[in-house]
């Protein structure tokens, strides 16, 4: 089992006034599993807690209750440090994902520096290799983030994410702020990487189309709970839960409308 999330609770305290504090329960007992080399989609509306779940999985925040295991090691235990190598993350906002003062070469060398003691030359070679993997040439090495387009920068983020050879990557709305043609390119890149280097994804999104494009399994997330789990992407039409049905219907309607607009525009 690559990743196992067991009955995880998380709440944030919201202060009202000076002393009174209100608890805001974000995750209410979430459990699921992720197997090797599969892509798990987590879909839900804004504020449903799916991004919080992502932050718990990458270990930057601790759950109030429950455990998260990666390769059967609890990530919040003292031995949890060693499995940090197996996790990586790509965020939605690519501009804040990279330090604006770093060149691309510095950005990608950060994870390499942490896990491998390579000479400067080897590091550069490895970075060029990684950049080529994600479809960028080595002329980007000495550029700054603001000199790249959104799609290129997100590719850099993906290159950085695979630099440590992680077992799985959390993609937190990783394609949501890109335009559609770039989205498809990035999804294709992710698919290709998955086949090549045997990697798993947790694909957190609100975009059903992207989920059907890349994911093997889907979890519907609503109000801090998993409301439905679809183990076969082909069965996506047969969801039973009301919330998932609504979500699915909304997406289908939007696609139909889009098609109509498209027809009108062309004719």
């Amino acid at each position: 089992m690559l990743l196992q999330v067991e009955n995880v609770y998380k709440s944030y305290s919201k202060s009202c006034g000076i002393i009174k504090k209100e608890k805001l329960q974000v995750l209410k007992g979430v459990s699921f599993k992720l197997h090797r080399s599969e892509c798990l989609g987590i879909i839900g509306e804004s504020g449903s807690g799916k991004s919080t779940l992502g932050r718990l999985i990458i270990g930057v925040e601790k759950p109030d209750n429950g455990n998260i295991f990666i390769n059967n090691t609890n990530i919040n235990s003292s031995r949890g440090k060693s499995i940090k190598k197996d996790v990586s993350v790509v965020f939605q906002d690519y501009f804040s994902s990279v330090n604006p003062r770093f060149k691309i070469i510095d950005i990608i060398s950060e994870p390499i520096r942490v896990y491998e003691k390579l000479s400067k030359k080897d590091t550069t070679l490895k970075i060029i290799n990684l950049l080529e993997r994600v479809g960028l040439s080595k002329k980007f090495l000495s550029r700054y983030p603001h000199e790249l387009s959104g799609g290129q920068l997100q590719r850099v983020c993906i290159a950085r994410a695979i630099a440590t050879k992680p077992k799985f990557i959390v993609l937190d709305e990783a394609i949501s702020s890109l335009d559609v043609s770039i989205q498809v390119q990035i999804l294709d890149l992710l698919k290709e990487l998955k086949n090549d280097i045997d990697i798993s994804y947790i694909f957190i999104t609100h975009d059903l189309t992207a989920v059907t494009y890349i994911c093997d399994r889907v979890i519907f997330f609503h109000d801090g709970n998993i409301v439905e789990q679809v183990d076969n992407i082909e069965d996506l039409k047969n969801v039973k839960n009301d919330y998932s049905k609504n979500l699915l219907q909304a997406a289908t309607q939007m696609n139909v409308r889009e098609a109509i607009y498209e027809n009108q525009r062309v004719s």
């Binding site: 990458i58 990279v98 896990y115």
Partner: protein, 272 residues
């Protein structure tokens, strides 16, 4: 960045004024025409001449030389004060920003206390308690200023701690020292430098004021505030004595203030 700094005329002019001042201060020995402390009563209040380009004061000392030697306590001690303030503020701010909870709460309440005193009164109180002398003035200035920086840096640490690139670094287990030295500090410094430059003017005025009141640099050391203080005694008979030190303070303080404004224009990320 450098090119942008050079293109900004205000920054260029003020930086050169400050750099030239600092250089003159550093090589005061070679540049000053006379010994700043050599009194000759015969020559007192003399007009500008080849020997004394700006004339002499009430003890017949060369005003220009005193002005040049005065750069050392005025500008250098202010720089020193500022550096100590920033160092202390950064240290406490970083500790506070990282340790959310009781430690943070305690440090912030201490900051609130420090910030609630009017600064000049506080300095006078500290100097009054510890005694007269430039060391105590510097100590007092640091003591009341650090809280401003600690508070600002704390909020920046919290802000940057939630930036995605630092979240990424934490995810893959980058060492904390790398995160602080490579991600945090460069970002924080560029924001702090603006405030620090603006505050330099304040510190110069503060040290000069206290020297003027006789609490800071002691005679016969040349210091602009102290020179003003000596000149004020003869304000009615020889008003021109005030001009040189007064203008010197005016120019250097305005230079620092304008540099701060200019830097803010250049470094403001919203303009990038």
């Amino acid at each position: 960045m450098t090119r942008k700094l050079l293109r900004n005329k205000v920054v260029l002019v003020t930086t050169s004024i400050i750099l030239i001042t600092i250089l003159i201060g550093a090589f005061a020995h070679q540049i000053a025409p006379n010994d700043p402390n050599e009194a000759s009563i015969i020559n007192k209040y003399s007009r500008s001449s080849d020997e004394f380009p700006l004339g002499t004061d009430h003890l017949g000392r060369c005003i220009l030389s005193r002005l040049i030697y005065g750069i050392r306590p005025t500008v250098f001690l202010s720089l020193f004060t500022m550096l100590c303030t920033i160092a202390l503020g950064t240290l406490i701010g970083v500790i506070s920003g990282y340790s959310i909870g009781i430690v943070d709460e305690v440090i912030m309440r201490i900051c609130d206390i420090m910030l609630s005193f009017p600064s000049q009164v506080m300095i006078l109180a500290v100097v009054g308690m510890l005694g007269v002398g430039i060391n105590n003035v510097i100590f007092a200035s640091i003591m009341i200023k650090w809280a401003w920086y600690a508070r600002m840096i704390r909020s920046m640490v919290i802000k940057y701690n939630n930036k995605n690139y630092i979240l990424y670094s934490k995810t893959i287990g980058t060492s904390r020292s790398f995160i602080i030295t490579r991600h945090m500090i460069p970002n924080i410094i560029s924001e702090v430098i603006v405030l620090a430059t603006l505050d330099m003017g304040w510190v110069i005025i503060s040290i000069s004021t206290l020297s003027f009141l006789g609490l800071g640099v002691q005679a016969p050391t040349a210091e602009w505030g102290a020179m003003l203080s000596e000149a004020k005694n003869v304000l009615s008979t020889n008003p021109s004595q005030m001009l040189a030190p007064g203008l010197a303070i005016l120019i250097i303080v305005s230079a620092f203030n304008l540099l701060g404004d200019g830097l803010r224009d250049v470094l403001d990320p919203r303009e990038v």
